[in-house]
Symmetry: C2
Subunit: 390 residues, 2 copies
DNA sequence: TGCATATAGTTTAGGCAATGAACTAATTGC
DNA sequence: GCAATTAGTTCATTGCCTAAACTATATGCA
């Protein structure tokens, strides 16, 4: 297939994907939407039907004239979203429209287990979800896996995941999803979650910085609805912006990084709450209780985190010219106490650049990484449908 | 002309532009370079010759066989690079290969004069250079104008140039270069200078942050040899990264920005050297003398600037994932004294991420902004030659 | 009920711009 | 001086588009 037809195929498929949920555009509507004429649209739609990416879905019409045949993304095709985190693994089935159909979480300590057993457990969970997909009549085309660390997607390699204690782990082809035509793609967790935010907040501006509070502080930079990854693929690491030159040492080897005052461990320590890997979620619950009870140490810890988060965001804003922030992870949970010091700090360090309504909370929550990883695989398929047509 | 042919035209012209200086590729060589066959290359070359963008230039051959006809960018076409700065205006003629053929600088205080007289003076200087171009047999196709401030290129408007005291100045079409087919495009000075660095350091990596020390501190972010401008076009403003949360107030309204410790005024003040707009370049010379004499106050001021510059670069590096820095403006001048504290600071705040050879000095120097503005206009013409053919 | 109008989708003709192979032109090397 | 080699052109073919005509199927009003 020639380049021209290939890109027009993506154009037509993208136009179907862009239609709001429940709206099934006809071939004629696709022609006007894409700027192509009806002739090639009909022929491209035929290809996409053959490839199983589109499906005819009743009528699309309202007014006079012959009714059109509605077209939709084939609901019988899907992608697995997967996640490996410090204390759980998860897998979910996402259809081509981005709907989460099946979701399985298995809690386990992945820090002490080796990489092999964890990947085997993930493959098992993925197999379970894939079987469930089969019962729904959904064929799984590929998968996206989010991990809390730096990845090299091209090499399917996890470069380093400090909180898992992993480094240079390569994902063998077919190990997780044997036989899936698109294989499994790797993503950084915060980046994937940022992409999920894009998908799930339609009109809400397509330029923002997603900041995710986890054990560390992750970030994803979305510009023009696309992830900005920088030359080596690791942009958006706002957790290591220097916010206090005379601050304490960071796990990255640096000094005074945002993570040293706004990561979970830092906040818990400052609040005087003990935490280790296995009890961290319990500790975070204790922190919220302490905040609700108005305990001064807890309030001061969150206050400090908010203030320094503002410093980091103000700096980031000037470097990449982004005016919106989405808070995720524990930053979303702590928002009631974090928000005031954060906004005050933004007002001090970047006056006139952030209005309060530009600091919003994550809408996808916990499953964001999984949704985003799967959604990104879907998106790349819609942008390049020939990957499947061969 | 169809889209396909249009993009292939750019492909062929780009292949000629990519050839090293003095090498004149033949049609057959262009065919292999572009992946097209000889037939369309011949026909596209014909179009480009007609448009005056290419010229036949003797033979291209070495080995056996029929010699090819060499092709080069037409040296009889050029673009004006222009600059308005605090204490001078400048204009230069740049040919399509990026060579600076004519260069005129006129010193004048643009801060006290109004925008109208300054623009009129610039138009006069541009006219002079254009006349000189005519004597060289070079036709001026358009121009690029660099200013020290934020610009909206689409609207040909200078949004704000604090050091000039300008805000919302619109460049009327034809005011500076009447009749030039491409008109005049606006650029931020540091961004333009960054682009000039790209052009003039061939193999030296195409991802870097250009940091320019001026009255303020400007920056340009180059990723994949392209300027990264962010969603609103103002990315790279590293001068307003917060390096000291408890620092002093900045002209931007913020607190503790890099500019408050590393801008010219800040360094001069810390070194105990008086400065105003008219004597600033003299003051900088005094500073260098003081440094050479080993005066403690001067050394401490530059030391502090270097240390905080390192903080800002370490943070920027994590946000945009850039591992190379090019120092321009007074940072290049002060390099002998600035370098050690800068490297030490980078080692402390971003350990293992910057090696000393990744901190380099500007190769284009003073005329960088002018060269970059003109070069960018040339580049956009080469990427879209139909702008001229129509 | 029936016909004008409107819209969907297919068919046919035509055009642009590519590829591939054959052909002509100009040079080197033995 | 002729074979080998490379440059550039010509011609036939192909891919894929647009434009317009045509067929199919609906609505709305007399």
């Amino acid at each position: 297939m020639g380049d021209v037809r290939r890109s027009n195929t993506a154009l037509v498929l993208g136009a179907v994907a862009k239609a709001p949920a429940g709206v099934h555009p006809s071939r004629a509507q696709l022609a006007t939407a894409t700027g192509l004429t009806k002739r090639p649209v009909s022929s491209l739609v035929l290809d996409l039907l053959d490839a199983g990416l589109l499906r005819e879905a009743g009528q699309s019409q309202q007014g006079r004239g012959r009714p059109g045949v509605g077209l939709e993304l084939n609901p019988a095709r899907g992608v697995l979203g997967m996640e490996i985190n410090v204390d759980y693994i998860a897998a979910g089935l996402v259809d081509l429209s981005g709907n989460l159909l099946v979701h399985e979480v298995r809690e386990q300590d992945n820090r002490s287990a080796g990489t092999g057993p964890v990947l085997a457990a993930l493959a098992g969970l993925a197999g379970t979800v894939r079987a469930a997909a089969g019962e729904h009549g959904v064929e799984v085309l590929g998968g996206g896996l989010a991990v809390p660390g730096l990845v090299d997607p091209a090499a399917a390699r996890i470069l380093t995941a400090p909180n898992l204690g992993w480094a240079n782990v390569t994902l063998e082809p077919g190990a997780v999803l044997p036989g899936a035509p698109l294989g499994v793609s790797l993503f950084n967790e915060a980046n994937a979650a940022a992409l999920a935010e894009v998908r799930h907040r339609p009109k809400e501006g397509s330029d923002f910085l997603f900041v995710s509070g986890e054990v560390g502080v992750g970030g994803g930079l979305v510009i023009g609805s696309e992830l900005f990854t920088g030359p080596e693929g690791h942009a958006g690491e706002v957790g290591h912006v220097v916010v206090e030159p005379d601050g304490t040492g960071c796990s990255c080897g640096g000094t005074g990084c945002l993570e040293t005052v706004a990561g979970q461990d830092a906040i818990l320590a400052a609040a005087g709450i003990a935490a280790d890997t296995r009890t961290r979620s319990a500790s975070m619950a204790l922190l919220v209780q302490a905040l609700q009870a108005g305990e001064p140490a807890a309030l001061a810890a969150v206050n400090r985190a908010g203030r320094y988060l503002g410093v980091a965001l103000a700096s980031t804003m000037r470097v990449v010219n982004i005016g919106s922030v989405v808070l995720g992870g524990h930053f979303a949970v702590l928002d009631p106490w974090l928000r005031a010091p954060l906004l005050a700090s933004l007002g001090r360090y970047a006056p006139g650049r952030f209005s309060p309504e530009q600091v919003t909370l994550s809408v996808v929550g916990e499953s964001g990484a999984l949704l985003g990883a799967a959604g990104s695989v879907v998106r790349s398929l819609i942008d390049a449908p020939h990957l499947l047509q061969s």
